[in-house]
């Protein structure tokens, strides 16, 4: 028996610090990942995502603090940790002159897999590349290469999967495929994936950890992060009969802080105090005045807005806009 069958947590990180010379890449990082979770690791480039992953995979030790993966300490039992994780680095580590099957067999052997052929077969089936088993990797498209990279990470059936930017550089269809694959893998593995693409997190992860300058700035489910961050709630209202009196009238309702006209075709955004749903009051008034309600819905702060709010300090606003570029890719 190994330690990994005990304990609730697949990953426990305590007071983790990492210095590169003078520069501090991680500042007192603390988090845990439960078995079976898919944790999204979100942050701008250079926030410390890759550094954290490299520590968790035993690639390099932390400067101070401790991390346990699958029950093993990364500093003291590095080899045990490495035996229990599957890792897909950001630059997919492929030997371009090998065939897919040979490459996977090599990785499986390196992980001391007993039945190499069966493991390779299984991994190729999971990521759906069996038809390319005998193709040389340099002849494969980017999407296929990514799948080979994931196959490599799961070939030895690790407890924990660590995926660094698993969808980077893929086209939208491939991104969807890889995300579906990750969700499917999440049924059997604990997964940490890093990304700076936000829809990825809301679509694949059960929990999000936002990291900035080596520190965790938020930690929750994608839904709660979206809901809980705002100081006020917003309601979107669209009416058929446009009248100038509408904003003034709406502001008379208790709890309504402000009303803003979005467009002349009768769309308004109503800001209300937190935790008091005013939709019934608004609907009642609209019916009473005969405005003709076309749409009435709460507006959640998108994960993007949360992310920007958390990871942006005012002087670096411009720099931080980069991550949102890729948010329209589906």
């Amino acid at each position: 028996m190994n330690d990994s069958s005990n304990g609730e947590y697949a990953i426990e990180v305590k007071n983790l610090n990492k210095f590169y010379g003078e520069r501090q890449a991680l500042r007192n990082l603390n988090f845990t990942v439960k078995r079976g979770e898919i944790l999204g690791f979100l942050g701008p480039n250079g926030a410390g995502k890759t550094t954290t992953m490299r520590i968790l995979t035993g690639y390099m030790p932390p400067s101070s603090g401790s991390a346990r993966v699958a029950g093993y300490d990364v500093s003291k039992n590095s080899l045990d940790v490495r035996a229990h994780i599957g890792y897909l680095p950001e630059n997919v580590p492929l030997y371009l002159d090998m065939t897919v099957a040979d490459y996977l067999a090599f990785v499986a052997r390196l992980h001391h897999v007993k039945n190499v052929d069966a493991a390779v077969e299984r991994a190729m089936e999971l990521v759906n590349i069996t038809d390319r088993a005998d193709s040389t990797i340099n002849k494969l498209s980017k999407g296929y290469r990514q799948r080979v990279g994931i196959a490599q990470a799961i070939a030895h059936e690790p407890d924990v999967l660590i995926l660094d930017e698993p969808t980077i550089g893929l086209d939208p269809r491939q991104i969807i495929e890889v995300r579906d694959l990750i969700r499917a893998l999440g049924k059997e593995h604990t997964i940490i994936l890093s990304t700076h693409i936000l829809p990825e997190v809301s679509q694949t992860c059960t929990r999000v950890l936002i990291i900035r300058e080596g520190q965790i700035v938020a930690e929750d489910t994608p839904q709660r992060l979206g809901a809980g961050m705002s100081q006020s709630e917003h309601i979107h209202l669209q009416v058929a009969q446009v009248a100038d009196e509408i904003p003034a009238e709406l502001e008379k309702i208790q709890g309504v802080l402000a009303v803003r006209k979005i467009q002349d075709d009768g769309q308004f955004e109503i800001e209300t105090t937190v935790n008091h749903d005013r939709r019934a009051d608004i609907a009642a008034m609209a019916v009473q005045r005969g405005w003709g309600v076309l749409e009435l819905r709460p507006v959640r702060m998108s994960l993007e807005q949360v992310f920007l709010q958390l990871t942006t300090s005012e002087e670096e606003t411009e720099y931080i806009t980069a991550p949102s570029e890729e948010t329209n890719d589906e």
């Binding site: 010379g21 390099m60 080899l79 045990d80 580590p93 030997y95 371009l96 090998m98 390196l110």
Partner: protein, 238 residues
């Protein structure tokens, strides 16, 4: 040991599919054959020892080409991260690569065995000298492969790796030149004379087995393996 063999196996496979390895084998076979004929025609003596001196020169030029990709390519492809996060120790990775390249070096010598057969057929060569020459060449190969592997671990640029390896070997080759200029009783000069390559392999080629020479090549190979392991491990404290 399993890890070492897994790594070595992949490296040998990589040699087989790489055009560079075949070019090196072809060049080596061509030049040794050419030199063999020249020497034989000129001397008409069934003696391979002049040829082995040339093999050493060829090894100086071609071994760094054989080893330059060992680590540089892994850095470039990003596969180093795969190896270093696999349950294998750094020294096992280094040793696996060393073994593969050394076996590759030994394969270079296979075509020259043909020349031994020719001498056997038409003359009476001293098989003892020939055996010690091959032993010397294999030991020299281990040292050259070690130095080449070390320089490959320093950079992701294969050409730079080749040049560094070649420069270190060239320095060892001519180390006695500055020593002689320095005079007789000088600690540095003595050291430089000790590390000079040609005096070490010439004994083997004339059939003299000296444990000091054996120790020299084995130490050079071992030091290379240890230092390369340190380079690979340096990510931990950088």
């Amino acid at each position: 040991m399993n890890n070492v063999l897994t790594i070595a196996g992949r490296e040998l496979r990589a040699y087989i599919v790489s055009p560079l390895a075949w070019i090196i084998i072809a060049l080596f076979a061509f030049f040794t054959g050419f030199i063999f004929v020249q020497i034989l025609v000129a001397s008409r003596v069934a003696d391979l020892s002049p040829m082995f001196s040339w093999i050493a020169v060829l090894a100086l030029i071609l071994t760094p080409a054989l080893t330059m990709r060992l680590f540089s390519e892994e850095y470039k492809l990003g596969t180093m991260e795969l190896l270093l996060t696999a349950p294998a120790r750094d020294w096992q990775i280094v040793l696996g690569k060393f073994l593969a390249a050394w076996i590759g070096f030994a394969i270079l010598l296979v075509p020259t065995l043909w020349q031994v057969l020719i001498l056997q057929r038409y003359g009476e060569p001293d098989l003892g000298v020939i055996s010690s020459s091959y032993l010397g060449t294999l030991l020299l190969g281990a040292a050259f492969v070690g130095v080449g592997m070390f320089s490959s671990a320093l950079t992701q640029n294969q050409f730079v790796a080749y040049m560094i390896g070649m420069i270190i070997l060239l320095f060892l080759w001519v180390a006695d030149a500055p020593a002689n200029a320095m005079g007789q009783s000088n600690v540095i000069a003595d050291f430089l004379r000790q590390v000079t390559l040609p005096t070490r392999f010439q004994d083997f080629f004339s059939g003299v087995l000296d444990s000091q020479n054996l120790l020299y090549f084995v130490s050079l190979a071992l030091i290379s393996i240890v230092v390369t392991t340190l380079v690979v491990s340096s990510r931990r404290w950088r």
